[in-house]
């Protein structure tokens, strides 16, 4: 593999404690090294901002639900079509682009690692198929356990170790990365068209509450020593007054891991709502952010909403149905037997709409009110809050009070009475942004050991070089330059190769899929457990032997083996 020497890079690398040093970076064999041989390819960065490759810790880019979002939306497809160009294949789509569209556009933004936020294990094979055609980013799949009958039965019996064993078997079988809970208990209730209201209500079918599922999954996760924590989409997404549910959930989270958080709560914007209905709907970002500030064991991501058309998609089937009843537009639903649900509807977030305006403010507030940027990561829950191509605008909003005020003047005028945003003066700096878009993600996902998220020797050579000279821009005033600068890298380097140059992909690429394999003692190998086998035999519509994702689907991959406490 070719060697590259980056000269005069202005580096911000929070994990390594580097905050704005001009330095050279040597790359060989796909990794950052101390030095290269005599004739590397030299790239003169000319003092441009150089960061570790971007990592999206919660996005929807591959799999059954995402593809159905494309399938049902020809109007979205025609909104973003590009022709074949060099090694770039054609792309279609705006809010749910084709796999190549996702890959090229993320690469142009400097992103090199993506976590698909919600994968039903029964359909994981599909996600892996699409990963192959998302060639410019490494990928991981969060696996849904919110309605997993095997796990729920074990938790009901109070057998955490058995629950952990079932999780371990499933993650290994479907080549998944982490435990995802989406509206725990709610997706099971949705099997008969119901939902759960909050964390202390009993769910149908199993003698459990959502709180018990969350706590059980957290303990199982730590027994398995998984790299990432439990990744939670709280109950009650999108409903006025849900902040109490969110805070209540956070209150249940123990601090069990000294390397990372114990709970990752995703798209918290959608879970920080006050009011008793839509008429008195308001922001409760302050109490939620305060809770996070007091509990270092929690990391959240924003789930920022940006104005315009997009497509919402989540495993939270009942929530999507409620959204459908509000919008009366197209609605898709896809329940997955014994596991989870999902729903999709298109939405248009409008500045003239008060609720949408408040949602927009809440996401920003969370990022500005959570004191420690390592605890609040930048996402839109792509494409739920907005397509990821809006990230540069979000960065600019966080760095510029003036930009926020200019935008605030455009939105629904009553917003001011419902949100604290206008009173928040904080402006994030370059280092904060580097944390919130890569370093924080790497640490939260537990993949720094794999060389992700930093730029010191030993790290994967995943690097983004932006046409930004930090000493020449006043972010507070020149927010347009922030947007332009982050919208298109000069170079995106993936595993030691320049994959994208000024917005165009220049090679085909070959991604790596990261997956976990907890080392489970024989007594906890559930594969041959008669009760577990019977569950499959009687209730699934596929044979147990056809369920695991075969090696053929992995292509290039990295298996993370973990020692367990079983």
């Amino acid at each position: 593999m070719a060697e590259i020497l980056l000269k005069n890079a202005y580096v911000i690398d929070p994990i390594s404690g580097i905050n704005g040093e001009v330095m050279d970076i040597a790359i060989s064999g796909g990794k950052i090294v101390e030095e290269v041989s005599s004739k590397p390819e030299v790239i003169d960065c000319q003092g441009c901002l150089t960061l570790p490759g971007g990592i999206d810790s919660h996005t929807h880019i591959s799999g059954t639900k995402v593809n159905f979002g494309r399938y049902m939306s020809p109007e979205d497809m025609r909104a973003g079509r590009t022709a074949k160009k060099g090694p770039m294949h054609i792309t279609s789509g705006y809010s749910v682009p084709t796999t190549y569209g996702n890959s090229y556009r993320y690469s142009a933004l400097g992103y090199t690692t993506l976590v698909e936020g919600a994968v039903a294990p029964l359909e994981a094979r599909h996600t892996h198929e699409e990963f192959k055609f998302t060639p410019l980013q490494d990928s991981c799949a969060n696996i849904l356990f919110d309605g997993n009958w095997g796990m729920l039965r074990a938790l009901e019996e109070g057998d955490i170790k058995r629950a952990a064993a079932i999780i371990a078997w499933t993650l290994n079988a479907v080549k998944g990365f982490a435990i995802k809970l989406t509206n725990p208990g709610g997706t099971e209730a949705w099997g008969f068209g119901k939902n759960v209201s909050c964390i202390n209500e009993k769910i149908p079918t199993f003698d459990l509450t959502p709180a018990e599922i969350i706590k059980g999954a957290i303990r199982a996760n730590e027994l398995l020593h998984l790299p990432h924590s439990v990744h939670l989409h709280c109950n009650n997404l999108g409903t006025p007054g849900n902040f109490t549910c969110t805070i209540g959930t956070f209150g249940h989270v123990p601090d069990l891991n000294d390397k990372r958080q114990t709970l990752y709560a995703t798209h918290v914007q959608f879970h920080s709502y006050g009011g008793t209905g839509w008429s008195d709907f308001c922001s409760k970002s302050e109490p939620v952010a305060n809770m996070v500030n007091f509990r270092p064991q929690i990391v959240i991501d924003m789930g920022q909403v940006m104005f315009g058309r997009t497509t919402t998609m989540t495993a939270d089937g009942p929530m999507e149905f409620n959204l459908y009843r509000l919008h009366h537009d197209k609605w898709s639903n896809h329940d997955v037997e014994l596991e989870t649900g999902s729903g999709i509807i298109p939405v248009n977030y409008r500045k003239k709409n008060l609720v949408n305006s408040i949602m927009w403010a809440i996401g920003l507030e969370l990022a500005l009110l959570v004191k420690n940027p390592w605890q609040c990561l930048l996402t839109t829950d792509n494409p739920n809050g907005a397509p990821f191509i809006k990230y540069p605008e979000i960065i600019a909003l966080l760095m510029s009070k003036r930009y926020r005020d200019a935008e605030f003047a455009m939105i629904h005028q009553d917003t001011e009475k419902r949100v604290p945003l206008p009173a928040i003066d904080r402006e994030l700096d370059w280092h904060d942004i580097a944390v919130m878009t890569r370093a924080g993600q790497a640490r939260a996902l537990g993949i720094t050991d794999l060389g992700k998220g930093y730029l010191m020797p030993g790290a994967e050579a995943d690097i983004a070089i932006y046409p930004i000279k930090t000493d020449e821009i006043d972010p507070s005033a020149e927010y347009e330059k922030i947007i332009q600068g982050f919208a298109r890298t000069e170079y995106t380097i993936k595993r030691g190769r320049v994959v994208s140059r000024r917005g165009d992909a220049i090679i085909d690429g070959e991604n790596t899929t990261f997956w976990v394999k907890p080392k489970v003692p024989a007594a906890y190998d559930i594969q041959h457990d008669p009760t577990f086998m019977e569950l499959f035999e009687r209730n699934y519509s596929v044979r147990m032997s056809n369920y695991p994702v075969q090696e053929e689907y992995l292509h290039r991959n990295h298996c993370i083996e973990t020692e367990t406490d079983l």
Partner: protein
């Protein structure tokens, strides 16, 4: 030797519990399979060599010559059409999409003549669906509308619905009601608790009436709608609303009859409406074992499930214009590649006349009706028996098809890759 849990490469049910007995690399027995799957597993006839038409006669040729000729035909074409795809796996379909993109072709699948209207409807109103196991475990009301599972998907009722054991169903015989809606009293209708006989082309009107009734607006509905008495409609609407979990399955009787996708749209909107009262899902009875897989592959690669025109360098989609029947009826294609399907047996006469009139190549293991219409046929391994790969069940669950027999025949994927390579070589040579 026995091989267990083999997925069946016949219909969209993709039953994955088939047991195959093999002796001397031949299938000698099949268990758990239906008549249709059995016939496929036990089939022995196939084309042994590539064949090409020369001077009005069929002659055997080498793979190399056949691939050369195919590459030449496709390179020269101004409006090439790549059609079929439902009888092969995703790994081959991907190569097909890349080929279409590279040569600026039209690409379409058998979807065009089966559930194309379902997709158009879903694109207007979405799709409240679920996996088949969800129906098996929960549904206390199953409605087959314009489809006949006994003849087209013989194990659908025993694996997923009427006769399947379900977690929440104590007694399948008494706790699960079945309604059949059709223009004729099919075999399925004979085992149903309620049969609704609709006049041909009347499905849309009946669905509208049911939607109004579910909304509590029975008063506007006339005494009889498309041959169905209002009292029966009211009884059925009540059954639907009282169900704990209702599952509608629909087939070609809905998609192919007058109004096409509007029929499906109305059925989906009925189901969406019912979700305000109880739990309801709706699912298309997809035909070929991997017809849904092609829709998935083309969607993640080009953004649309079928009928894509790459001729302008971007993906353009408009069924009715870029779909196979319309293209052939208007005599647009000047070359055609048929993969893993048999338009000769399934397309209207006027359209296959055009296939016969232009240079057409078929990639298929067997001699079929399309054979007569081509210039070249390239035999391949039988997908799901002699070659492995991914297929998507009618509910979107992906299943890996198995290779249970050894063969010297190349796979669809290999042949397609060789064609792509050959086209690139020809272009490089000018």
């Amino acid at each position: 030797m026995d091989i267990k849990d083999v997925p069946c490469p016949f219909c969209g049910c993709l039953c994955d519990d088939v047991k195959i007995q093999i002796e001397d690399n031949r299938i000698t027995g099949v268990e758990n399979c239906c008549t249709l799957g059995n016939a496929k597993f036990l089939s022995k006839s196939r084309l042994q060599h590539p064949i090409m038409r020369k001077d009005g006669k069929w002659v055997e040729v080498s793979y190399e010559e056949a691939i050369d000729e195919t590459a030449r035909i496709l390179s020269d074409a101004v409006r090439p059409l790549l059609y079929g795809w439902s009888g092969t796996v995703g790994e081959a379909q991907v190569v097909g999409v890349h080929l279409a993109e590279e040569i600026g072709a039209l690409i379409d699948s058998t979807t065009s003549v089966c559930h194309n209207p379902s997709i158009l409807a879903i694109q207007e109103v979405g799709h409240p669906g679920c996996t088949l196991g969800q129906v098996k475990n929960r549904a206390d009301l199953v409605i087959y509308w314009g489809c006949n599972p006994i003849e087209a998907h013989p194990r659908h009722m025993s694996r997923y619905t009427t006769y399947a054991d379900g977690y929440f169903i104590d007694n399948t015989a008494t706790d699960r009601k079945v309604i059949v809606v059709d223009i004729r009293r099919s075999d399925g209708a004979k085992v149903a608790d309620e049969f609704i006989q609709v006049k041909p082309g009347g499905d849309y009107l009946v669905l509208s009436a049911l939607r109004a009734m579910v909304r509590g607006k029975s008063d506007v509905v006339p005494d009889s709608v498309a041959g169905v008495k209002k009292v029966q409609l009211q009884r059925v609407a009540d059954l639907m609303m009282k169900a704990k979990f209702g599952a509608v399955f629909f087939g070609l009787g809905v998609t192919m009859s007058r109004g096409k996708y509007k029929n499906v749209r109305n059925a989906i909107e009925l189901v969406s409406e019912l979700n305000r009262k109880t739990k309801f899902t709706i699912s298309a009875m997809r035909g070929h074992f991997n017809v849904y897989g092609f829709n998935e592959v083309l969607t993640w690669m080009a953004g649309y499930p079928f009928a894509v025109d790459f001729s302008r360098g971007i993906a353009f989609y408009n069924p009715g214009e870029t779909s196979v029947i319309d293209l052939l009826e208007k005599k647009e294609p000047d070359a055609c590649l048929v993969v893993a399907s048999d338009p000769g047996a399934h397309f209207p006469k006027s359209t296959i006349e055009h296939i016969a009139a232009i240079p057409t190549v078929q990639i298929d293991p067997c001699v079929n009706a399309t054979t007569a219409l081509c210039q070249v046929q390239i035999p391949v391994a039988i997908t799901g028996i002699e070659s492995a790969g991914t297929a998507y069940r009618m509910d979107g669950v992906p299943i890996r098809m198995k290779k249970v027999l050894e063969t010297d025949f190349p796979t669809d994927q290999e042949i397609l890759e060789r064609i792509v390579t050959r086209i690139r070589e020809m272009r490089a040579d000018g």
